[in-house]
Amino acid sequence: MLSYTLRRVVSALPVIFIAVAVSFFIMRLAPGGPFDRGRTLPPEVMKNVLAHYNLDLPIYQQFWLYLVGLVHGDLGPSMAFYDFTVTQLLLLGLPFTLTLGFMAFLLAIAVGVSSGIFAALHHNRLPDVVLVLVVMLGVIVPNFLMGALLQLIFGVWLKWLPAGGWSSSNPLSLVMPVVVLAWPQAARISRLMRGSMIEVLGTNYIRTARSKGIGERLVVVRHALKPALLPVVSYLGPGLAYLLTGSLVVEQIFGLPGIGKYFITAALDRDYGLVLGTTIVYMAVILLLNLVVDVVYAWLDPKVRYR
């Protein structure tokens, strides 16, 4: 178990390295730089600025320096937010994105699994049909449109929830972002859960369990749930990646101060350090959570062993 985990972590390192290298070289080799906007600097000032950020060195040396810094846990300075290092900015934004992501993740699992089971138990009857429609809506309407519509309805017309922005005194301002983020994932999970539950409920051992006179509730919870969860769990890995990238949009729509917002601003400003830093953090989080998902999968499915 421990060695399996370790091996997974080690095998993730080259992936992170490749991704860092790719983003690094794309950013650097393209025309334009972080100090090209706004006022044109006098050449000697520009020279000093570039020297300060090591931008005057040959590119492979810059890459080496960046990697050395990375190994020491130093993500370098931000080039657009002059007084901050990338680590400081990420520490400001990360807790927020993680809170948003985890709340949406839990909501998506809870709603998706329970609605999937519910739909399966009412297969082809009214509740099933209604749920399938709601699910369809979640999968089809893109999250930025969904966000805009909810803002308009609940924020502007009904005034039940704040339309955007974030204040720590008002946790209600997280409701809409979490719902928008969770809905498509809940929909996909619900679809998977419904399908696999219908399949499992048709198997022989469930018929045996029923024939022994066990109540329907117990049949579902004790016997059907665990095997029916398998496809859902294997979806959670990619689902998480969707969810985190979805938070890019949601943070943008609702004006929330997470790292997704930093990433987009940084990319537009050519803030090399911040772009790379956010990319690395996103990947680390996703790879870590994928690992958790795999461990849970192995626990659910005895056929999978930690090889």
Binding site: I140, L145, T245, I253, A267, Y282
Partner: protein, 303 residues
């Protein structure tokens, strides 16, 4: 010799009467099933109508998508001035812009899907055909790629290389090929054990020829199904990039750009949001129903 009793005519008449119904190919069967499915058929018709209107419509409009009408800025729909959907903040006709945006969204959707199909099919077929270590390594790579937040790289690419149309196609297509590769690999694994592949091999065909000539054509069913379901995903991705301001460049527009422009002012100028949002949802809905219908039609075992 002259046929005195007209035996041939009688016989051929008789043969025609007896004639067994023309053999039905798999495609015929699939199309029959598809057209028997009202949701899929309706979606197909609506989709074709949307495409036709988006392509032909602009020729019949009084305004073009980039023409500014200084007399009508931020005006609601006005039939006298032929602004049927109203005008935007710059006085451009919304109907013309919506049609142009639909064109771009559909174009990106189809071309990027084609890119993802090509990459996915070739990759998956090679992995499945060669099997063994090559397969293991290639599929492990796909597994790893699944975990990456690909969209970040597309955003970086779009920012760095400007809003380039080709890049939009290739960049988005390059993020959607993973599932296609998995599906194709799975199919190839079973196809390569079949007799016709063995026959081709016995005939001395080289592996790449076998893959391209004998295996890929047999993948059509699952590939078509999955491609149909990929188009809406790609349209969403494109509109997401446009929403972030990274899509096509002004005065060109896409549904995503229109929605992102319309959303903040939807309270006062709802006509800027309604049309593009409705068309986007209609397209996505139709493609999804069509994809489901195709799956039921081509692969009746599963459903």
């Amino acid at each position: 010799m002259v046929d005195l009793v007209g035996k041939d005519a009688v016989l051929s008449d008789y043969a025609q009467k007896l004639a067994a119904p023309r053999g039905r190919s798999l495609t015929d069967d699939a199309l029959r099933r598809l057209f028997a499915n009202p949701a899929a058929l309706g979606s197909l018709i609506v989709l074709l109508a949307v495409i036709a209107v988006a392509v032909i419509g602009p020729f019949f409009l009084h305004w073009t998508y980039d023409k500014i009408d200084w007399g009508a800025i931020k005006k609601p729909p006005d039939f006298a001035k032929q602004h049927y959907f109203g005008t935007d903040q710059n006085g451009r006709d919304m109907l013309a812009r919506t049609l142009q945006g639909t064109q771009v969204s559909l174009l990106v959707g189809f071309v990027a899907t084609a890119v993802s199909v090509v990459i996915g099919v070739v990759y998956g077929a090679i992995a499945g055909y060669f099997g063994g270590r090559i397969d293991a390594a290639m599929m492990r790579f796909v597994d790893v790629m699944y975990a990456l937040p690909y969209i970040l790289f597309v955003i970086i690419l779009m920012v760095v290389f400007g809003r380039n149309f080709v890049l939009l196609f290739v960049g988005i297509g390059a993020i959607e090929w993973l599932t296609m590769a998995r599906i194709v690999r799975g199919q190839t694994l079973s196809l390569k054990e079949r007799e016709f592949v063995e026959a081709a091999r016995a005939g001395g065909a080289r592996p790449l020829t076998i893959i391209m000539r004998h295996i890929v054509p047999n993948l059509t069913g699952p590939v078509v199904i999955y491609a149909t379901l990929t188009v809406p995903e790609i349209i969403i991705t494109e509109s997401f990039l446009s929403y972030l301001g990274l899509g096509v460049q002004e005065p060109l527009t896409s549904l995503g750009t229109l929605i992102s422009d319309g959303a903040p002012v939807a309270e006062v100028m709802p006509w800027l949001l309604v049309a593009p949002a409705a068309i986007l949802i209609a397209i996505l809905l139709c493609l999804t129903f069509l994809g489901d219908g195709l799956r039921d039609a081509l692969d009746p075992r599963d459903h």
